[in-house]
Amino acid sequence: MAFFIFRRVANFITTIFVVSIIVFAAMNVLPGDPALTILGLDATEDALESLREKLGLNEPLVKRYLFWVGNALRGNFGVSHSFSVPVSELIIERLPLTVSLAISGMICTIILAFFLGVVAAANHTRSGDWGVMIISQLGIAVPAFWLSILLVLLFAVKLRWLPPGGFPGWESPAEAIRSLIMPTLALTLVQSAVLARVTRSSMLEIMRQDYIRTARASGFNSRRILWLHTLPNALIPIVTIIGMQFAALVTGTIVIENVFYLPGLGKLIFQSISNRDLPTVQALVMLFAAIVIIANFIVDIAYSFIDPRLKERT
């Protein structure tokens, strides 16, 4: 286990390092002058030059990279070019919203997908199965932003049950939760479609196994067989997909936060790229990469809990 964790950490560091080089190079190769983006088209050449100097854009690329890495290792991600405040401050401000959205989206996705997947598997080749398959096919085909707009038109404009967007902050928890319902729903409906299909096929695979037949022959009730004997054994592929979906959920917030005008990390990264705000983009991409790697790490750990045989092998 110790070796397993060591290998994972080494992996993590290497990936983050590679990502840092790619992000830095990409943002600097991309055409676009941060000073001109901030000062606009009427700026004089000397004002632009002063700003470039102030932002440290005149230093050679390698020096800037090393300086940035050195600071980042000490927890200093620099100052945002466009907001002129420390990047860490921007991230801390917006992280809670995106994390709440991704986690609530994940939980709802799992609940809905398990339910649909198990119902479909239990009713294999019957109408329940067909129903779930059709709904999930729709869910996969419908783009999240379009679904979001439909939700807004129904629940905010027509019925007036929920606000059309925005986030009042956690100071008013009831309002905050109300404003996250639709974004969560939009994320959930699309993501759970994929997961429900995986759950269904994995369940069907297990249901064909001998021990399930034995259990059935021994007279266990079918609901117990389904939830206690089949589902736990079908989890390995499901958990793999959940790990990948968590990454998709985090990046999916970019679209959702723009449609529901939520001040989260997704909206920040979108804005920072168009503003050529190099320090903010760099820090955010690193953060997203770290989240994805950590999610995969948790999935790996989860495997050994689901199937103790894997623990011995590692």
Partner: protein, 497 residues
């Protein structure tokens, strides 16, 4: 006795209830939620060009020496009046007295000196530093007057001094204005939830506070047009003064809850030709292409009919406007003929367009129109950062579509070969210098008219239409400007009935 006590208690309860209701009505009716498409990255208009900073804060939180009304006329602000010397080079401003910054510090000529020196300094990052270029020096004869000496006459000087870039800031707060703006204006900055909203509250100590009816103003940032529509329809917002999508206006016009206004901005939308680069260095080619443009079709297709065509580079609502839309009538035969006389082989032209709906939609129509005179146009939709770098800075383009939103920007054509137009014309430079130096309004108007004619004659660009200002308001909300002569919108004239 008990009865009297009961009665008086009941009376008290009723009276306080009535008071509470009237108070709540007051606070409800004087609070407004305004939608903004563009989100600011900083709150300091003297260091960042983002138009929404001016849109929300200039002349609301910050004030300048002068201000401008809806028709573009210059009015007093922090300067109550001014005298101009006979040679037009020396401006003496008398400053308003007993004015306080929102942090409680007093405003006087020192603050004006500081603000100008900061903007003019060598390391200044003021986004329109050029408006300070004509200034030779600034000094303060007393605590309530300031003298500004110019190097040469500048007809736009007083107008430029009203801009957000010329806001008067205090030394103590100048470095924190990007997050916590401190000015002297009728509204005090209260809170900014980055990415979500910005809140202002009425400044009860402002010199004309009784004329301000709004108690609280909340700006909400919604960039997506569909989301903006939903927010208006759900009545989350009271006003969206710069609504981004002309195609969505109809449903608001049909809805009795809303009022829609269609005004004009200072933004001339042009099909810019890279005048330096063949074939655009050939006047006949530029004229031929101008004849191939069908403005009405572009306005219908790209703006859903909600824009006014232009024939030169001047807003139709301006006093000196000349209608030159007939000079290059839509005429395919004439266009083909001119192309033939130019005797050039034009295979394919690139049209690099920034990510603004007015530009991307117009581009497709221009592409179809030019194909009718046998010119293939390759439309490249590029991202804003790319546009700034490749088109604006490196001039690596054939054609582009862009709106120039600054007021009085005829000077763009006098910026010489370094500017992305690639237009370098001695005669025009002289003409523009005359406009800047002419302080007599009537004579200046004639010169501006002459400039418009000149630019049209040279067919410097394809002049398309004036960018409209589309406003959607809940019924009962009054005082928003229909047109936008400047980037800001004073909130003090707005009321809710």
């Amino acid at each position: 006795m008990l009865k009297i006590l009961h009665k008086s208690i009941r009376l008290c309860v009723i009276a306080s209830l009535a008071l509470a209701i009237s108070l709540s009505q007051l606070s409800a009716s004087s609070k407004i939620a305004i939608g903004m498409q563009q989100e600011p990255t900083s709150l300091d208009p003297t260091a960042d060009a983002t138009a929404s900073i001016d849109g929300m804060l200039s002349h609301n939180v910050y004030e300048s020496l002068t201000t401008v009304n809806e028709s573009g006329e210059v009015l007093p602000a922090l300067a109550t009046d001014w005298q101009v010397s006979a040679d037009g080079l020396e401006y003496t401003f008398n400053l308003r007295q007993n004015v306080k910054f929102h942090d409680g510090s007093a405003f006087d000529s020192e603050d004006v000196l500081f603000s100008f020196q900061r903007a003019m300094a060598e390391d200044s990052v003021n986004p329109t530093k050029k408006i300070f270029k004509p200034i030779e020096n600034v000094f303060a004869p007393s605590s309530h007057s300031v003298v500004i000496k110019l190097k040469k006459k500048d007809a736009f000087f007083l107008f430029n001094m009203a801009k957000g870039d010329a806001s008067i800031v205090a030394l103590e707060s100048s470095t924190s204005n990007n997050e916590k703006p401190v000015g002297t204006g009728p509204f005090i900055f209260e809170d900014w939830k980055r990415g979500d909203r910005l809140i202002l509250a009425k400044n009860a100590e402002w010199y004309d506070a009784q004329s301000v009816s709004l108690e609280k103003v909340e700006f909400r940032f919604i960039s997506d047009a569909a989301a903006a529509t939903a927010a208006m329809l759900a009545e989350e917002l009271d006003a969206f003064p710069g609504f981004p999508a002309p195609e969505l206006l109809e449903q608001f016009e049909a809805d009795p809850r809303f009022k829609v206004t269609i005004g004009s901005t200072e933004g001339e939308v042009i099909l810019a030709f890279n005048n330096k680069k063949p074939p655009f260095d050939n006047l006949n080619v530029r004229r031929a292409l101008s004849h191939a443009i069908n403005r009405d079709e572009i306005i219908d297709g790209a703006m859903y009919g909600r824009a006014v065509p232009i024939g030169s580079f001047y807003p139709p609502h301006g006093a000196a406007y000349v209608d030159l839309t007939d000079v290059y009538k839509y005429d395919l035969e004439k266009s083909k003929e001119l192309l033939k006389t130019s005797d050039l082989e034009i295979d394919e032209l690139s049209l690099r367009v920034p990510p603004f709906p007015y530009a991307t939609r117009s581009a497709e129509i221009v592409q179809a129109q030019f194909s009718k005179v046998g010119i293939d146009v390759k439309v490249e939709n590029v991202e804003w950062g790319f546009w700034i770098d490749e088109v604006y800075k490196k001039k690596n383009y054939d054609m582009t579509i862009i709106a120039h939103t600054s007021p009085n920007d005829l000077g763009n054509f006098a910026r010489g070969p370094k500017y992305f137009y690639g237009f370098d014309d001695e005669a025009y430079n002289d003409l523009y210098a005359k406009i800047v130096g002419e302080t007599d309004p009537e004579k200046r108007r004639e010169l501006i008219e002459q400039a418009q004619r000149y630019l049209t004659d040279k067919a410097v660009h394809g002049f398309l239409f004036q960018l409209p200002k589309l406003g959607i308001f809940k019924n009962g909300i009054d005082g928003f400007w229909k047109s936008a002569p400047v980037l800001y919108q004073p909130l003090r004239g707005i009321s809710i009935n």
